[in-house]
């Protein structure tokens, strides 16, 4: 264990190395360049390969190749680059290949801007690529979680043979705070009998996502779905903060949740009991855990740095018998604790 004062992007890159990352491919794009730059220096020192590819398309397809050899693989990019990778992510999911993909998201659509944003929630959680699949998605809200959730993402990716996504943001990626570098157990990835290798006398192995005969594609799709059902049972992560006596519960993820914590302290000093429910795994979403809060609270305040994306999930989960209000901030400027406190008072008529 090692206590550091670290930047979010470095924490993530360290976690990847500590998790046994052996292959990274990526392409420059603001605001995530710190991750590849760190790995270009550090990954070769631990016997890993770093490649700056000619594009995000090449990067994600290099991951398809390296992952099929059984190595732990990762790429990182920011929103437009992640859009380019969607074909590859769909193929990773269809071919059941583990990989970790990091999105330090920025503004869109199109070229957008390079500021903080949560505009990629739909793309991340509902499958940006084609086909019937879900991949696990984790949203860190601290430098420590940039580390811990990366370790988690590698494990989940291997356990379920699936790509896993870290949906990070500029604020968490570029700020510095205390990090405990945990050096996780199990740096050796599990034995991958499905991977290409040099084992003599093996039967032929084909990695593919093409199923044409009879109902084999249907069987394959239900197999992928079953993995998703297993993830729902085992991999849900969430955080609750002062929810038990709350009159209004804020639902937020990533950097907005971070701001919301300060809002809650500010509100409670002023006699308004706010709480926070924070999904950490956006896929699988902590649905039951969120719904159970309706036993004690009827007011929910969804806050996102977009025009309302997770809002649809919250509305679906909570139904119409509770009072849901939304505040969206689709711009580069992260709202302050005061902004959120004032919005809460305004939207709930307090």
């Amino acid at each position: 264990m090692n206590k550091l004062f670290s930047r979010g992007s470095d924490a993530l890159a360290m976690a990847a190395i500590d998790s046994g990352l052996k292959f990274y491919a990526g392409y420059p794009i603001t605001p995530q360049n710190d991750i590849p730059e760190f790995l270009s220096r550090e990954l070769p020192k631990v016997g890993g390969t770093f490649v700056q590819a000619e594009s995000e398309v090449a990067s994600i397809n290099m991951l398809l190749g390296a992952s099929s050899c059984g190595f732990r693989v990762m790429t990182s990019s920011s929103s437009p680059g992640i859009s380019l990778m969607q074909e590859g992510i769909s193929y990773l999911a269809g071919s059941e290949l583990p990989a970790v993909i990091v999105n330090v998201s920025r503004w869109g659509p199109g070229l957008g801007g390079i500021g903080a944003s949560q505009g990629d929630y739909h793309q991340a959680t509902k499958g940006g690529g084609h086909g019937d699949y879900f991949i696990p998605v984790f949203a860190p809200y601290s430098v420590q979680e940039m580390y811990d959730l990366t370790v988690k993402a590698f494990d989940v990716a291997d356990k379920y043979r699936t790509p896993a996504l870290i949906l990070a943001d500029v604020m968490i990626s570029l700020m510095r705070e205390t990090l405990i570098r945990r050096y996780p157990e199990g740096i050796k990835p599990p034995e991958k009998s499905w991977a290409f290798g040099e084992r003599k006398g093996e039967r032929q192995k084909i990695i593919k996502s093409l199923y044409l005969k009879g109902n084999e594609l249907e069987v394959h799709n239900w197999k992928l779905h079953k993995k998703f059902e297993e993830m729902k049972k085992n991999e849900i992560l969430f955080d609750k903060y002062l929810c038990d006596d709350a009159d209004i519960i804020i639902v937020a993820f990533g950097m907005v949740a971070r701001v919301a914590r300060s809002t809650i302290e500010l509100a409670r000093e002023n006699g308004l009991k706010l709480g926070l429910f924070r999904p950490i795994s956006l896929v699988p979403y902590p649905e039951e855990e969120l719904f159970s809060l309706t036993k004690t609270c009827k007011n929910f305040f969804v806050i996102e740095m977009n025009t309302g994306q997770m809002l649809y999930d919250v509305m679906r989960i909570l139904g119409r018998n509770v009072n849901i209000r939304f505040y969206g901030k689709p711009s580069s400027y992260v709202p302050t604790p005061d902004d959120l406190f004032n919005k809460a008072k305004e939207l709930f008529n307090i």
Binding site: E37, E54, L111
Partner: protein, 288 residues
């Protein structure tokens, strides 16, 4: 000083002082002025990178497009309205990285577009990673141990793949670059100008002190641009201490627009579709 003020916008370029993009900016405005263009005679398509910021600084129709996709966007504009002069620009990073496939296909299509590559051999906007034209051994933020790959040779690729006007310019020779741009725009067909564009901040080794003593003009060397073999020889000669600028290759071939039946007479934008009748076609199907 040429009177090219009408192509200025109210914005001052945000490039670093000394950036090679200033030379390209000035040469473009001068070329448009000398060609007698009005602001709405030209449509420019920009890529993503420092070069793309040019969209804010030059007053013509402008499409700030996608990283590496300037040529497909420019092709779409040209095929929809080929009366417009279409000038695409992008950096070596986007145009010769993810855009390389589009580059080769636009060469073989020979659409009448002018394509200017801001070639600084580094990623400037993302603050200094290796690019497709960085030389082997180049140390950068993403290649601390040096580049392994061989650089892309845009001029040789363009010559081989059917571009009909292939040139190299230099931001430090603005009058020469202006003349190249004028000739490229006048040329009927796909015209490529690879511009040596120093990035003084993130690639200072390939800056003016490097290029100034090395560049020489092909026209002074008696090169005949119609000589394919000699053009290719110059394009492939990348290890020589002397760097040729000027027109490497120029031939006359029918453009895509001239070869397409629908586009030959007038641009798509001038076709009237208000009174199209499909009854004849329906009759034909009925009879068969």
């Amino acid at each position: 000083m040429k009177d090219n003020q009408k192509f200025n916008t109210y914005q001052t370029p945000s490039w670093c002082p000394g950036c090679g993009n200033f030379g390209i900016w000035y040469a473009l405005k001068s070329a448009y002025t000398e060609l007698g263009f009005d602001n709405n005679d030209v449509c420019m398509v920009f890529g993503i990178g420092c070069s793309g910021n040019l969209s804010n600084f030059i007053k013509v129709y402008g499409f700030h497009s996608i990283h590496g996709r300037t040529l497909p966007v420019a092709s779409g504009i040209k095929l929809a309205n080929h009366k417009l002069n279409v000038v695409a620009t992008s950096g070596d990073g986007d145009g010769l990285g993810i855009g390389l496939g589009h580059f080769i296909h636009t060469c073989r299509r020979n659409i009448d577009i002018t394509y200017i590559i801001h070639d600084n051999r580094v990623y400037g906007l993302t603050t200094g990673q290796t690019s497709p034209t960085s030389p082997q051994g180049f140390q950068s933020k993403s290649t601390p141990f040096g580049v392994i790959e061989q650089p892309i040779n845009p001029l040789a690729l363009a010559i081989i793949q059917g571009a009909t006007f292939v040139a190299r310019g230099y931001s430090g020779e603005i009058d020469h670059l202006t003349s190249l741009i004028i000739q490229a725009i006048k040329h009927k067909g796909f015209a490529v100008i690879d511009v040596l564009q120093p990035c003084v901040t993130f690639n200072p080794n390939f800056s003016y002190p490097f290029y100034n003593p090395r560049v020489f003009k092909l026209e002074d060397a008696g090169h005949n641009p119609e000589d394919f073999n000699n053009a290719l020889k110059y394009a492939l000669d990348v290890n020589n201490d002397k760097i040729p600028i000027g027109i490497f290759y120029k031939i006359s071939k029918p453009t895509y627009e001239e070869s397409s039946e629908e586009l030959r007479d007038k641009p798509l934008s001038e076709y009237d579709i208000s009174d199209i009748s499909i009854s004849e076609l329906i009759e034909e199907i009925r009879e068969s």
